[in-house]
Amino acid sequence: MLGLLISISIMSLMLGKYQISPMQIAAWGISHVNTNSGLQIKAEIEMILSQIRMPRILLVSLVGAGLAVSGTVLQSIFRNPLVSPYILGISSGSAFGVSLVILLFQVYNPFLLQLSAFLFGSLSVTIVLIASKLFPGRDTIIMVLTGIIISSFFSASVSLIQYFTDDQKIQTILFWTFGSFANANWENVFFIAPILLLCGTLFILKSWKLNVLSLGEVETTSLGLDYKRQIFTFIILTSIITSSVTAVCGPIGWVGLIIPHIVRFLGGSNNTFVVPCSLVSGAIFLQCIDLIARYSFPFEIPVGIVAALIGLPFFIFVLIKIRVA
């Protein structure tokens, strides 16, 4: 599986508006590992590979892995096959945060953008969690319901912001809400990577607890785990991943919903297997989507649109599978 991820990455390095041969990539790779190799790399190839394609591939992989693993975690703890990172209102909250920054500030400031997305994403989750605490016993349904309501509230707010800004800013906001990796750079990679490494490792270490939590509250308590505390930890971690991912590349749907199903379909439901596998599969899936987005049309289209177009047939497949099971 890791092999598949690496081959997809190399393919992504090769393909694009400027085609680069495998030999040139090998030469480029060797020249970076061994600086005394004496290989001559063309400046434009060096530029495209190091500054454009490499950060993009890393960013796409990290985002795909993060969204997929968040979906796996949320589906397990909510015991619901249709839940994804978007159900808690995280992405809409982040979208609002980003739009607000674009509206209020003239200069483009990536750090401020990410901070605001993170704050409003977390605000959504906090509201959802508080609402669910008010209804003990029915907290799961209230949680999902509040998430949906908050999502539409923030979506409406984003539209409102677009209504009041000038054309150029509308374009910026609109482009961002499509979800795209066109602006990928090393700065983004260095922002996402530590968050994902930390949360991903924690998820792998805690994956056995997800198995227990998927049995429900009474059963988890009977097996000696603190249900509320575990659920809370998992929700916080997925919120951190989702909001930081959304801040960087906009809301990208489907990955978090589809990948967990495919992994479980192929390899069984045990989360000690599903969690690491959905990390890798999410990266592979989003790489493929991104490759389609930037290579298969004469001009690049936002990855969020491609994901949604491909997502529908997958989604129907999942629904049919659930009905059969």
């Binding site: 397990s76 015991r79 619901n80 096959p81 270490l205 805690k206 994956s207 056995w208 607890k209 198995n211 227990v212 998927s214 049995l215 429900g216 009474v218 059963e219 308590t221 009977s222 097996l223 000696g224 785990l225 603190d226 479980r264 069984g268 439901s269 045990n270 989360n271 000690t272 099971a325």
Partner: protein, 257 residues
Amino acid sequence: MISVQNLSLFVQNKVILENINFSMDSGLLGVFGPNGIGKSTLLRTIAGHHKNFTGDVLINSINIRSFHKQLLARNISFIPQEYTTYLDFSVKDLTLLGRTPYLSLLGKYSQNDFKIVETILHDIGLNQLQDRPISSLSSGERRLTILSMALAQMTPIIILDEPTNFLDIYNTVKTLRLLKELSITKKKLIIVSIHDINFATSFFDSVLFLCPDKYSIFGESKIITNEVNLKKMFGLDFQVIHEGESSFFVPKINSNT
């Protein structure tokens, strides 16, 4: 050993359970009572899921309130009435989850855990099915898998909320026989809520009758299970049929009481 003393439970100032007393070392205890009387609530309270009760629940003379969650899970296993698993685990994986209270922070199963699960699946007769996903099992086999999981907890006390619900008569008898056997061979205390009073004298060592008006009767099954107490519990007249050591009860349908 479990001892319940003056147990009462209020939910939003409404009395659900009042002044329940019983104590038992090992064996099979049947909890009987009409629908909505609080059987499930009682079982959940004893299992440590409700905190706001008055009175005492003692396990080996130690108050249940002082147990840490993990330690409690090593002493009592509880199987709720409806056990729905969202993820489609294999029989073996689900049974292994019963070892959760013994796992360390990283959740790695030891050789011992695997051995325990293997033995249990063999004893219950599920070893042929151990790699099958539970979605492919019959409801009887699924119940047995969940029982295996509770057994993997290796607790001296097992509480089951209506384990024979929706089972046919063959699987009902099979389940009760299995529980009876476990209570004898493994010296476990097994508490079961059940509706069919005709199993009371043939399977259960002791019974707890929950009657309307917050009134309960506890004692040896063969003594307590009679038409007088059954009338108190269900408000119906019964005809008794004695068959060897067991008694069977048929409601008198035409009596207008």
